[in-house]
């Protein structure tokens, strides 16, 4: 039995989470409220004015229906002063609250310092709608301990046991310069300029306290986190992540995504963990691969996304079904079979992946792929064993290269205007 199963057996649930937050007026339901914004609408019909509540028991940008664009940044802290980190997180919280509700940083004025001061807000989002902007902030393992193991800011005693650098997975060709990080910012919006604006202004606030380590832009949401959204296609042309955990599936979210009050450490209750993997897709060789092989790689039909065992996209796959001969219809080394919960002790994850491209590489090939983001309740029991299995036996590995790796703890949501990112962590270590 996995750790997650044991937790289930002990009966932790959304109710427990609600109880932990007392009144529970704003709990995971915050996410439910957000989902309601798009009920009955196709994703392309997100209203430009869409806004998701910034304050709530959980951070936005996890169960929020996927927006069309991503701008992701990992930062390294440059200060050695704990108070400077706290001040930055407080300023980030206020700025994020403003931007996600369509307000410029510093209020409506062009500059709080007057005509001879630089504007508070960089300005490029001024005439744009909120576009469903969400801002999600996380803490990397190196915030707690540096690579030599030293406690940097008095936080080491509260480092979650599953928050460590991801291991080397077979076949990884990870570039450390685009991996890891002390902090992360995930900004998602239907307009890429709105997402870039959010990261740009938070980075500006961080100057002197933290510096950008790497960034990644994404487009074309390659996962669906709400039942109103059709499953998008990745750059291989296939639907992937059909069995994703949906924002409305509270039981699955409690089991597999949100850290429960009885989990350790306490300050992470209502939080989640983020696994990041930049997956370069070798599109040129993929495109000259036969449809037979392509469908065998995914275990699904390309047209409908139906499992090769039959049915439509949402039909439960039958991994044991055979045709002529003894080989299963869904190849045992297909992506579908290897990633399936039944191959992973029943474990599930919440995928929130985006496609990416960054022009071309030195060979003139399209530098593109999948910027894979997954949210889980426990990295050690959910993401890492699943990735290990995929890295060992997924037939898709032939056509991909894993180029970066990172893990972050996403603390709980901000309860109100006085709350700030990670307050519970810093208070627990005060």
């Amino acid at each position: 039995m996995t750790e997650v199963d044991e937790r289930n057996a002990r009966g932790f649930s959304r109710r427990a989470l609600l109880g932990a937050f007392g009144a529970g007026a704003l709990t995971v339901a915050g996410a439910g409220t957000a989902t309601a914004l798009v009920v009955g609408r196709a994703p392309s019909a997100h209203p430009a004015s869409a806004q998701y509540p910034f304050h709530g028991a959980v951070q936005q940008g996890v169960t929020t229906p996927m927006q069309r664009s991503l701008h992701f940044a990992a930062l390294d802290i440059t200060t050695t002063t704990r108070d400077a980190v706290i001040t930055m997180l407080q300023r980030w919280s206020a700025a994020a609250a403003a931007m996600t509700t369509g307000q410029p940083i510093g209020g409506t004025r062009t500059s709080t310092g007057g005509y001879d001061a630089p504007p508070d807000d960089s300005g490029e989002a001024m005439d744009l709608a909120t576009s469903g902007l969400t801002i999600t902030v996380g803490f990397g393992p190196t915030l707690f301990r540096d690579v030599a193991g030293h406690d940097r800011f008095g936080l080491a005693g509260q480092q979650p046991s599953c928050l460590h650098e991801l291991p080397h997975f077979p076949g990884d060709q990870v570039d450390p310069l685009i991996s890891s990080g002390d902090l992360c910012i995930q900004a998602c919006a239907d307009d890429p300029q709105v997402a870039v604006h959010a990261v740009r202004n938070l980075v500006r606030i961080a100057f002197g306290t933290a510096t950008v380590r790497w960034t990644q832009a994404g487009f074309g949401a390659s996962s669906s986190t709400s039942t109103e959204q059709p499953t998008p296609r990745n750059l291989f042309g296939f639907k992937d992540g059909t069995n994703n955990i949906m924002g409305g599936d509270q039981a699955a979210l409690d089991d597999y995504v949100w850290v429960q009050p009885a989990d350790e450490p306490q300050w992470m209750a209502g939080g989640t963990y983020l696994a990041v993997r930049k997956i370069r897709m070798i599109l040129e060789t993929w495109d000259r691969t036969s449809l037979r092989e392509q469908e065998g790689v995914f275990g699904r039909t390309r047209s409908e996304g139906a499992p090769l065992s039959g049915g439509d996209e949402f039909t439960t796959v039958d991994l044991a079904a055979t045709g002529r001969g003894t080989d299963p219809l869904v190849p045992a080394d297909s992506h579908l079979a290897v990633a399936h919960p039944s191959s992973n002790n029943g474990v599930r994850i919440l995928r929130r992946a985006y496609n990416y491209t960054a022009g071309s590489d030195r060979l003139g090939r399209i530098d593109a792929g999948l910027f894979f983001l997954a949210f889980v309740r426990d990295l050690d029991t959910q993401f890492i064993p699943m990735q290990m299995r995929l890295s060992r036996s997924d037939r898709m590995n032939e056509y991909v290269r894993y180029q970066s790796s990172a893990a972050f703890a996403i603390p709980s949501g901000l309860r109100g205007p006085d709350d700030w990112f990670g307050r519970a962590l810093f208070e627990a270590t005060a």
Partner: protein, 392 residues
Amino acid sequence: MRSHRTIAPIIGAGSLVLAFALTACSSTQAGAGAGITVTSTDTECTASAVTASAGVIEFTVVNSGTQVTEVYVLGADALQVEAELENVGPGISRSLVAQLEPGSYVISCKPGMSGDGIRTPFTVTGTASAPATGAADQRAVDAATQEYQAYVQDEAAALLKGTRAFTAAYRAGDDVGARALYAPTRMHWESIEPVAESFGDLDPILDAREADLAEGEVWTGWHRIEKDLWPPAAGYTALTTAQRDSLAAGLVRNTAALVERTASLNFTLDQLGNGAKELLDEVATSKITGEEETWSHTDLWDFKANLDGAHRMFTALRPIVEANDPALAAQLDAEFADVTALLARYRDGDGYVSYMALTPAQVKELAAAVDALGEPLAHLTSVSLLGRRASS
């Protein structure tokens, strides 16, 4: 080692029935009946049209039943298989392409894959393009697969012989001699890589790169020895004599096992076509990037071996390709010649210059040539099997 594919087990012998025809007809000529839907239910087999014009006919097979189904296009005797599609799951649609001469045929659906099938007659009208004889077809297929089989066995034997000499030098501490034998010996592996990799148990212990392993796994094989012969400048502990002995013995033992297994392999046309494509993929993804030979930088030797292996598969199939699509055969001749000539510029003595000696512009030029060959080469399987090329 990258591939997780297995040329031998992927498609059992004869699972893809050879419906190609050695005819002079144009491969692009579509029958007037193209786009016929065949619906297979648990009890019925229906076609949206019962006649079509001779040529390439595309059937869309729809499995509306509850069981896995198969669809066959049979000759008038209901025995000769002209085309077949198997393993169609319930609810799934799939394309079945057949090249048919005028005459009477039977379409047979076999839900549940048992019994004689549910049959419906089908007529192809028009003019015969050229006489096609099934016996001649089979002779061409046998010639192609036997030619390739002989090549594989020759290469495997050369690999084992070379491996013995290489490991003897390595065990004796003759690093200069071992380094000189490393790349030329490995060429015999790289030339038949899709076959070598098909043995999923042997491939990782013979050809894993360091990055292919998870933490704590034991690293053996060619690339482990490669690192010991071309060690990093700092932070590397040379292997002991006992460790060398063990690695060398394993390399010989497992190579011998591989050679033994290749003796009993039988190949099908699609394996040859797909294998050639896989070899070019290997060049495009692992050799042109310099990621295969991290320590020795002998990637261009591997490049040459992959290219030769692909060319041998094409050569074996060439009479069939020439008959079905002469333009493709000519194009592949030209593209193979281009890549070969380009690669020859980097010859150095009996071998090739180090990958590290290439400029970015030279690497890019090689990559472009590989892509130029890879695209037409990807049509080898369908042209060999069906005499039909995807529209492009």
